[in-house]
Amino acid sequence: MKLSEVRDILDAEVLYGEDELDREVFSACGSDFMSDVLAYVKNQALLLTGLVNPQVIRTADMMDMKCVAFVRGKQPDENVLALARERDMVIMRAPIRMYDACGKLYAAGLRGDV
């Protein structure tokens, strides 16, 4: 699924990487526990999380993830966005809650285990 489609489905605002929405993700992972995310290895994955702190970006970076979508309308601070820019990672903010965000993407065909 293209990141532009992820944005449309989540009705998300793109906070960084507007030019990179042609990138594809093949799977997604939703969690507020970083070690849970680190247990999940898939190529070109999307991370959905309700946490907004620098460790989220670092965790996604270790996993080579292409995009992080913050749910529940959480706004990351400048520090977090700077880390994402350095790593060329697309950042979105979705107004909906985790359960709905996962459900919508899943229904549109983006799975966790592919």
Partner: protein, 139 residues
């Protein structure tokens, strides 16, 4: 390729900066041209170990040896030690406090993750003295 030794001090206390050493190591491994899968596994292990040193041991030092056929990562701290390694290795076991939990740590998955992503893992620990976690990843 020449053998390369990397040393990273890991500051205690500050969970916001935690992960810098792992980021730096990852960049260096990329520059050395190692396979993406090896880099990812090494980075995850190092990151889990680095976070553990910050949360549980007030910092320490990471030493990384990149050889011809394996990467050896040693994470050395002078923290409180681990009283029961078998218990610490269980998924879901965690003594992390609220500060760590608020940032998304404390699932009790770090050591099990390191075990899974590495080819060899060894923990040397003494209560009151400190802990050294050694990880080997075949290239």
């Amino acid at each position: 390729m020449e053998a390369v030794k990397l040393v990273y001090p890991v500051e205690g206390g500050d969970l916001i900066e935690a992960g810098e050493a792992s980021s730096k190591m990852k960049l260096t491994l990329k520059k050395l041209g190692l396979p993406p899968d090896v880099i990812r596994r090494a980075s995850i292990c190092m990151y889990e170990g680095e976070i553990n040193m910050v949360i549980h041991a007030d910092g320490g030092q990471a030493e990384v040896d990149v050889g011809m056929d394996e990467i050896v990562i040693r994470m050395i701290d002078q923290g409180p030690g681990i009283p029961d390694i078998d218990r610490a290795m269980q998924e879901g076991y965690s003594t992390a406090g609220d500060m760590a939990r608020d940032l998304g740590f404390g699932a009790g998955m770090g050591l099990p993750n390191m075990k899974r992503y590495s080819d060899e893992m060894d923990i040397e620990t003494e209560v009151g003295k400190g802990t050294t976690v050694t990880i080997k990843i075949k290239i």
